[in-house]
Symmetry: C2
């Protein structure tokens, strides 16, 4: 099944204001899918959309960001709580289970009624927990005959989930089946090990979906307590994009938040202690391909070096088939179908990640090449023509990545959630254009440290000193 998710894919690629989970959890398939033809974008310019963000608070303190978009008779809503898996405590997978259980029933609606209510009016609902964000999405027609009943159900789900035991049994079993499948996937195992050893005792360390054992410790009572603590107005951001006036959007936001207690914002997360030296963790896995992840904790949202790192990373390994790493490992040596690097700023230091799969007997060669190229890149920096090409690619694809309401919604949610400036989208071109090659070199030297990186390999064909 193939869907036209180009804008969202590009959004994830930008990894700018996208939910951090989008990029972090992107596997090789996603990565390949998002390699749209940047050149053809340039040949068919898409008009820049003026994105005026309005901002206010609901009566009980929820933050609201709104973009009026009258082109389509639709409304997209994203409610974000600072309640990702970083808030799991010692019950790894708790936020994830809350997201799966959210629409399983309220005091006045069972799960089938909820599903039928949305479907009968053509609305779509989804919820998900990433490391930082807990997201609850709604898309519905803007005509009040659809919008009003959809908001009734949506606000009921958010404020009054009852987490019934029977549904919990079913969802729990489904989660355990998912855990079994992850045990059999080298790339999933690599990702789990990578976060575990990169983040140690920090709440980013455990998998958002928990582990087979951690899930067993969770009860419906835990879900209720989690909901009570974190699903509160002072911990919420509401993003709205659609065919509404400002006044209508205010009513929508009040309706969404009215069932929430004011409560308190979640406490700030501790900063991450970087690795003091290079570490290599290896998991022997009987697969033909070895999955490699290499990286470190890098920067948090709002770091002023982000634009330089972002443009530099586009050249290094973020820019698809034209990137330096892709050229060295794929085009010149055929070691992999694809190699990608990304920088994911989060509440605190999110990861810088380079990842690829390679035939197991080529693992050491791939690792050596990765390290050599990374050091050279940081030593030599980028040329003027590389810089210009990267800017062209980024700026050429940006209009497309903000061409749909749902992609604007994703940006909007992240801008509110991470307290980014409201002109974040409008100033995007200017900020990218300002980046110089010396800024890139300085930013990489400051933030990226090849001698203190974590390397994770899952597969065969390698001997590791400290496995």
């Amino acid at each position: 099944m193939k869907k036209t998710l180009l804008s969202l894919a590009l959004l994830a690629n930008l990894s700018y204001a996208a939910p951090e989970g989008t990029t972090v959890t992107a596997g090789p398939l996603t990565a390949l899918d998002k390699l749209s033809s940047f050149n053809s974008v340039k040949s068919a310019p898409i008009p820049k959309r003026n994105i005026a963000i309005e901002n206010w608070q609901t009566q009980n303190g929820a933050k609201v960001l709104f973009v009026a978009a009258q082109e389509l008779p639709m409304v997209d809503v994203r409610l974000l709580f600072d309640a990702g898996s970083a808030r799991d405590g010692d019950k790894f997978g708790l936020a994830s289970l809350v997201s799966r259980m959210l629409d399983e029933g309220t005091p006045t609606r069972n799960t089938d009624q909820i599903a039928a209510s949305f479907e009968n009016i053509g609305a779509t609902f989804s919820s998900a927990a990433y490391r930082d964000m807990f997201i609850v999405d709604l898309r519905v027609l803007s005509d009040p005959q659809y919008l009003e009943p959809a908001l009734d159900v949506y606000s009921d789900i958010i404020a009054n989930p009852i987490f019934p035991d029977a549904a919990f049994k079913r969802i729990f079993d489904g989660a355990q089946v998912g855990q079994q499948q992850k045990l059999q996937s080298p790339s999933a195992q690599a990702s789990i090990l990578f976060y575990q050893h990169l983040y140690g005792s920090h709440p980013y360390a455990h998998p958002s979906n928990g582990t087979p054992d951690s899930l067993k410790k969770i009860t419906t009572n835990d879900l209720k307590q989690f909901h009570q603590q974190y699903f509160v107005a002072n911990n919420a951001t509401i993003a709205i994009v659609g065919a509404l006036s400002r006044e209508q959007a205010q009513q929508v936001a009040e309706k969404i938040s009215r069932g929430l207690n004011a409560g308190q914002a979640a406490a700030k997360l501790n900063t991450v202690t970087p690795l003091a030296k290079a570490v290599h963790k290896h998991l022997s896995f009987p697969s033909q391909q070895t999955h490699i992840m290499m990286g470190q904790a890098s920067i948090q949202r709002g770091n002023p070096d982000y634009e330089a790192l972002y443009v530099g990373n586009e050249i290094l390994g973020g820019g698809g088939f034209n990137s330096l790493l892709m050229n060295e490992l794929r085009e010149k040596r055929g070691l992999t179908y694809g190699v990608y690097s990304s920088i994911v700023p989060m509440h605190v230091q999110g990861p810088f990640i380079v990842s690829l799969s390679t035939r197991s007997d080529q693992t050491q060669q791939a690792l050596d090449l990765l390290r050599t190229n990374l050091r050279q890149f940081i030593r030599d920096g980028v040329s003027d023509s590389q810089l210009q090409e990267a800017k062209d690619n980024i700026l050429g694809s940006f209009p497309l990545s903000t061409s749909s309401n749902s992609s604007i919604l994703a940006y909007l949610g992240s801008i509110g959630f991470y307290n980014l400036p409201l002109d974040y989208l409008d100033s995007f071109n200017e900020r990218i254009n300002r980046v110089t090659s010396s800024q890139i070199k300085a930013a990489f030297r400051k933030h990226i440290h090849p001698d203190k990186m974590l390397t994770v390999t899952v597969g065969q064909g390698i001997t590791v000193a400290n496995p």
Copy 2:
């Protein structure tokens, strides 16, 4: 990410007129997800929707089925070609590559323009190839200012794809990454082996997505020839559900089909030669869980015994947590999180499949129990109370499974594609209610043969005579 796809999940569960791929490719997670609470459905009855199907042909011979649904200002279109992977010839994966490449460009639109065109008007597009069906879906608002431009792009994609080489390189690489991932999944390997040994030299035998080697033999020229031969009006079914009059729907159908040559319907597929005796194929796989698939070729669409087999299978292993197999293997003995059976009628004899995962050291116990219970079920048949409960479950969930336009669209497409009677949905309740326990016993004895079944195991903990 969780979506309210309850209706579609139930649709797949019914496996009635759903695309055969939906059920066939359903993994354990999907299966668990679809176990909605049937009891709560009964306590909250959803009004039966009157589904009047209109039927005609376009000027160049495409078959059209239409249901007017004025509740929502939307139109759902599904175009089906008899061009699934059964038409791959010796280029396994050809139909699948066509489906991935379809929206990569036309003479007048590149892939980014296509994506932006749909997104700017809030339309969603997708395409997929199953064993029998090639499906191209469109959902768009019914207002002509959205509908007309969406149909322009949709009909252009269908009639004039150019399959550009640059995109092919990218899609091909993505497909190969997917192949690598399948190599590492015991359940994917089990499914591949199951079809391979069940169908032998029949075109259902190979994986719809092809194999790592078969994909390498495919060129863009093959894609063009496949498109030219099979994307023709006489090989097409157009299903339309939405806020249109009959006249408007006729215009929509003409617009969709106008770029297609009349052409010829695909030739009938050969019937399947059943296995002459029981066969067990085992793939040793270093996983903690062993994946088991057991089954045989069963019936084709339109077989008069289908209702009896369907209701019987609901009791045996189709009905979720209350099924006989679930009770014996899961509830009583804790051997698995879930065991499911399904019967998937297709153009020719589709499979009867029982599948589960179990801890490797319990594999033999699970196999013995499966076989014993299957024999007992066929020998003893079902009790009156089992029969009534199964009918209640099926009929209780049916209204919900036809409560959304997209689920009606899926039924409609299958009714047209498989030449089922136009009253198929309206007569559903009656046909299910008519089934007797003696019909179930007779149908299972006639069609299901435990002594001639294929068993596939992928994992460890088992010794097999003929691996």
